[in-house]
C-alpha cells in the first residue's frame, strides 16, 4: 500500500491544535465569560468579565457536507468573523464575532445561501444522526434522508424559539442507535429474526463470535449441506441485530421487515431532573424512502402536543412525567400496546410499583 518513495514519517499528533482556531477576542477572554443572552433566534451574545462582548450566529447544515460547502462557510467566516468558525455537536455551524454590525449582514448572507439561521434556546434543534445507506455497512435505512425530511417539516421550529424547552432529535439506522438518546428519536426496529446466508457464513464469519454476540443465546452452531453454519432459535430471538455486526451472513436487514420505531423522553442534561432514557411510543412504521411521511407525521403529532401542553423549561420527558403516559397517548393520538411493556433486563424498573393511577 505504501509507495516506495514515501519520505514522510508519521507524527502521531492526536487532535488538531485549537488555540489558533480561537478568535483573538475569545483567546483574550478565555475562561472569563460572565453571562449570555439570546437577542434573537439564531444569535447569542456572550459578555466577558472584561466587558468585551461577542456575538454568535448559528445556522443549520446538512451534516453530509462537501468541500464546496465548507469553502462557502469559510468565505463567510473570512468576510465577517476574521476567519474563525466552529461546529456544534448537533451539526450546526457557528460564526463568532465581536462586531455587532456584522450580525445582520451575516444572517442575510447565510439565509440567501440556504443555511437556516436558528437552533438556539427553546427550539427544535438539528438531528444527531448516523450514516445510513450512504456509508454504513449495517444500515436498514438512510439517516440523512430521514433527517432532511424531518427538518423540512420542523424548519420553522428550528428557526423560532417557541417550544417549552429545547427539543433534541436523533435518528438511527439500526438498533445500535448511534444517533443516541434524545427528546424524540426515530430508530430502526427489526421485526424478523435474521435470515442466514449459509453459503457465505463459514467463509466470512468466526462462528463462536457470532454465537457469543447474541444477548439471549438464540444462536447455535449447526451443519448445513456439510458445511459449518449457524441456526437461530426464532422463538428466543429478540430481533436486535447484534449478530449482524459480528457476522454479515446473519442478514437482519429487510426491505419490508426492517421498520421504524419512535422513542421519546431521552435527556442527557442534568438540569432539574436526572438524565433519562427514552421510551418507545410508536413502532411498525414503514421504512418509506425517499420522504418517510409516516415518520414525519408521528414526529409532528408529538411536537404539536408538547408545544401546546408543555410548561416553560419542561423537556419532552418532563412534560410526560407531569401529565402521565395516559394523557401523552391521548394527546398525541399514538396508541399504547402490549409490545411497549418492557420484557428485557430491568423490566420491573418500568412497572408501576405504586397505586398511582391516571383516569
Amino acid at each position: 500500500m505504501s509507495s516506495p518513495e514515501r519520505t514522510w514519517k508519521t507524527i502521531e499528533s492526536g487532535p488538531h491544535t485549537y488555540e489558533e482556531a480561537l478568535h483573538p477576542v475569545v483567546r483574550k477572554n478565555y475562561g472569563k465569560w460572565k453571562y449570555h443572552e439570546i437577542p434573537k433566534p439564531g444569535v447569542l451574545k456572550h459578555v466577558a468579565e472584561s466587558g468585551d462582548a461577542i456575538y454568535t450566529v448559528r445556522a443549520g447544515t446538512p451534516r453530509q457536507d462537501t468541500v464546496d460547502m465548507v469553502r462557502t462557510l469559510c468565505d463567510i467566516a473570512d468576510k465577517y468573523t476574521d476567519g474563525h468558525l466552529r461546529f456544534t455537536v448537533r451539526n450546526n455551524v457557528e460564526f463568532i464575532t465581536p462586531n455587532q454590525e456584522n450580525v445582520e449582514p451575516m444572517i442575510s448572507e447565510l439565509e440567501s445561501l440556504g443555511f437556516p439561521v436558528g437552533g438556539t434556546g427553546m427550539c427544535v434543534s438539528s438531528v444527531a444522526h448516523t450514516q445510513g445507506w450512504l456509508h454504513c455497512d449495517i444500515p436498514a435505512t438512510d439517516a440523512s434522508g430521514v433527517v432532511k425530511s424531518m427538518m423540512d417539516t420542523v424548519y420553522k421550529e428550528f428557526k423560532d424559539m417557541q417550544m417549552p424547552n429545547k427539543v433534541r432529535l436523533s435518528t438511527s439506522c439500526c438498533a445500535i442507535n448511534c444517533g443516541g438518546q434524545a427528546d424524540i428519536a426515530v430508530v430502526v426496529k427489526h421485526t424478523r429474526p435474521p435470515r442466514i446466508n449459509h453459503d457465505h457464513l463459514s467463509k466470512i464469519c468466526e462462528l463462536p463470535k457470532a454465537v457469543a454476540r447474541c444477548p439471549v443465546a438464540a444462536i447455535r452452531p449447526t451443519v448445513v449441506d456439510g458445511k459449518k453454519s449457524l441456526m437461530v432459535d426464532e422463538s428466543k430471538c429478540i430481533c436486535c441485530g447484534a449478530c449482524f455486526g459480528a457476522c454479515p451472513a446473519m442478514e437482519i436487514n429487510h426491505p419490508e421487515h426492517s421498520k421504524f420505531a419512535i422513542w421519546v423522553g431521552g435527556k442527557n442534561s442534568n438540569a432539574r431532573t436526572k438524565p433519562s432514557t427514552m421510551s418507545i411510543v410508536a413502532h411498525n412504521l414503514p421504512n418509506n424512502p425517499p420522504r418517510w411521511p409516516e415518520v414525519t407525521e408521528a414526529l409532528g403529532r408529538i411536537l404539536t402536543a408538547y408545544k401546546e401542553g408543555g410548561r416553560p423549561w419542561e423537556r419532552v420527558g418532563e412534560w410526560i412525567n407531569r401529565i402521565g403516559w395516559k394523557r401523552f397517548f391521548e394527546e398525541t393520538g399514538l396508541v399504547f400496546d402490549e409490545d411497549m411493556i418492557d420484557s428485557y433486563r430491568h423490566a420491573r424498573t418500568t412497572f408501576n410499583q405504586s397505586a398511582h393511577v391516571r383516569f
Binding site: 456572550h46 453530509q64 465548507v70 474563525h84 457469543a212
Partner: protein, 417 residues
C-alpha cells in the same frame, strides 16, 4: 433483492455502460434522491450533485447511483475490510461495494476519520487546507461531524489513502479512533465562550487524547472506550450517555448570586415567574424566598444547572471548580442503554499535575477493564457484571455515597467482618 427493480433501475437511469455525458450531464438520473432536493432545509443531495458536476469525479457518480439503488431496494450495499495506513491499525473505515459490478465507479468508498480540534473550533486556513488535500485525493464529501466526534472524509480509494494521510499529517491532522481502542474525544465549546465552563475541557481533551494516541491508532483492548468532556452538568456533549469516560465540570462551593441582577430579573418578569420557573423546578427544593430575597441552601444543591440556565446574569457557578468523572455510558446493544454513573465525585482540574493525576487514574481504570472485561464488553457492562465494589477496589478508589442513588435494598452480601 428484487430483480425486477434491478432491471427497472438500469433502464431508467441508463447507468452501467451507457454514457451519460452524451446528454450533457455528468450524473445519471436519481429520481428518488431528487425528491430530497425540495423543501427548505439544506439538501445533502443537492450538495453532492453540485460538487459532482463541478469535479466530474466518477466516484461521486457511482455513490449517488448506488444510494439511489438503496432507496429503490431499501437495502444497504457496503461491506467492511481492512484498509489502513502504515503503522496504524485503525482510523480508516473501509467500504467496498457489494454490488460493484452494477456500480463499478463506487467499488471503493473508504472513510478517513480525522481528529478535529477540541471544541470543534476552526480557522478558515485549517479548513481550506483540509478541503484542498481532500479534493486532491478523495471524493470531496465531508461529514461535520460523525457521532464519534471525527471529521469524516468520505470516499477514497485504497491506493490513495497513504498519500492523502501523509499530506494531511504534515499539516497537523491525525487519524481518529476505530475498533477496540481509544476513540476520538468530544468537547463542548468550553471556556472558549461559555460562562458555565468549570474547567478547561479543551486542554484536558487535547492532553488526554495525545496521551492515548497509541491506543487510538492501534486498538488493543476488548472493545471501544470513549472520552467526552463537558464543561458543566448541562452536558452539551451528551457525555453521560455517549461515553465510557464522561468528564463533566462541576463546583463544590455555593452558587454565586448577584443580588442586583436577581432584583432586575424579578422586576422584568415578575415574582410568579421566579416561583414557577425557578424555585418550583429546583430538584431538591434548595431555593426559597426569604423577605423577598432569593436564598439558595448550598448543602441541598446538587449542581443541576437549572437556575443558572434560567438566570444566567444573576446566578453563576461557584469558585471551587473541578470535574466529576462518570463511567459506563453506552447505548442499547446489547444489554440495553446505560447511563454513566458517578465514580469520582470531584477532582481539581487546574494544573498540569491535576491532569497527570487524572490520566494516571484513567490508566488504572483501563488496566482493570483490560484484565476483567470480556470480548466486546464496554466498561460499564464489565462493572455491572463484576461489581462496582470490585471495580473501585481494583482501581484503588474509596467507596463514596455519591456513587449510588441509595444504599442497597437487599441483604445478600458477604462482609469482611
Amino acid at each position: 433483492m428484487d430483480s425486477t427493480k434491478e432491471g427497472a433501475s438500469k433502464a431508467a437511469c441508463g447507468c452501467n455502460g451507457c454514457a451519460p455525458e452524451e446528454n450533457g450531464r455528468f450524473l445519471n438520473a436519481t429520481p428518488m434522491l431528487n425528491e430530497l432536493e425540495s423543501g427548505p432545509w439544506p439538501s445533502f443531495v443537492s450538495g453532492f450533485k453540485e460538487m459532482a458536476e463541478r469535479t466530474k469525479k466518477p466516484m461521486l457518480r457511482g455513490v449517488l447511483d448506488q444510494l439511489e439503488y438503496s432507496y429503490k431496494t431499501r437495502m444497504g450495499y457496503w461491506k467492511g475490510g481492512l484498509v489502513t495506513v502504515e503503522g496504524y491499525g485503525a482510523g480508516i473505515i473501509t467500504r467496498y461495494s457489494m454490488i460493484k459490478d452494477k456500480f463499478p465507479e463506487a467499488a471503493e468508498f473508504h472513510t478517513m476519520r480525522i481528529q478535529p480540534p477540541p471544541g470543534l473550533h476552526y480557522n478558515t486556513a485549517m479548513l481550506r487546507e483540509l478541503c484542498d488535500i481532500w479534493e486532491k485525493y478523495g471524493s470531496g464529501i465531508i461529514t461535520l461531524h460523525g457521532q464519534t466526534g471525527d471529521i469524516m472524509l468520505q470516499g477514497i480509494e485504497q491506493d490513495k489513502v497513504q498519500e492523502c494521510f501523509d499530506e494531511l499529517n504534515q499539516k497537523g491532522w491525525d487519524l481518529g479512533g476505530a475498533g477496540a481502542g481509544m476513540r476520538t474525544g468530544v468537547s463542548c465549546i468550553g471556556p472558549g465562550r461559555c460562562e458555565n465552563a468549570c474547567y478547561d475541557n479543551l486542554k484536558l481533551h487535547f492532553k488526554a487524547l495525545k496521551h492515548f494516541s497509541g491506543q487510538v491508532h492501534r486498538p488493543e483492548w476488548n472493545y471501544k472506550i470513549k472520552f467526552k468532556f463537558s464543561g458543566c452538568p448541562n452536558d452539551c456533549t451528551n457525555a453521560i450517555m455517549r461515553s465510557d469516560l464522561a468528564v463533566i465540570g462541576t463546583w463544590k462551593d455555593a452558587i454565586q448570586i448577584d443580588r442586583d441582577e436577581v432584583r432586575a430579573w424579578i422586576d422584568e418578569r415578575g415574582i410568579d415567574t421566579l416561583v414557577n420557573q425557578v424555585i418550583s423546578n429546583c430538584p431538591t427544593g434548595a431555593i426559597s424566598l426569604k423577605d423577598g430575597e432569593m436564598e439558595i441552601e448550598s448543602r441541598d444543591c446538587v449542581r443541576c444547572m437549572h437556575c443558572l440556565n434560567v438566570m444566567p446574569k444573576a446566578l453563576s457557578k461557584g469558585e471551587e471548580r473541578g470535574i466529576s468523572l462518570l463511567m459506563g455510558g453506552k447505548n442499547t446493544l446489547k444489554v440495553g442503554v446505560n447511563m454513566g454513573s458517578l465514580i469520582v465525585p470531584y477532582m481539581k482540574m487546574e494544573t498540569d499535575e491535576d491532569i497527570e493525576e487524572f490520566l494516571e487514574l484513567i490508566e488504572e481504570i483501563i488496566d482493570w477493564w483490560d484484565d476483567n472485561g470480556l470480548d466486546h464488553e464496554r466498561i460499564g457492562e464489565t462493572i455491572e457484571r463484576v461489581g462496582l465494589k470490585q471495580f473501585i477496589e481494583g482501581v484503588g478508589l474509596e467507596a463514596d455515597i455519591n456513587m449510588v442513588s441509595r444504599p442497597r435494598d437487599n441483604p445478600y452480601f458477604k462482609a469482611k467482618y
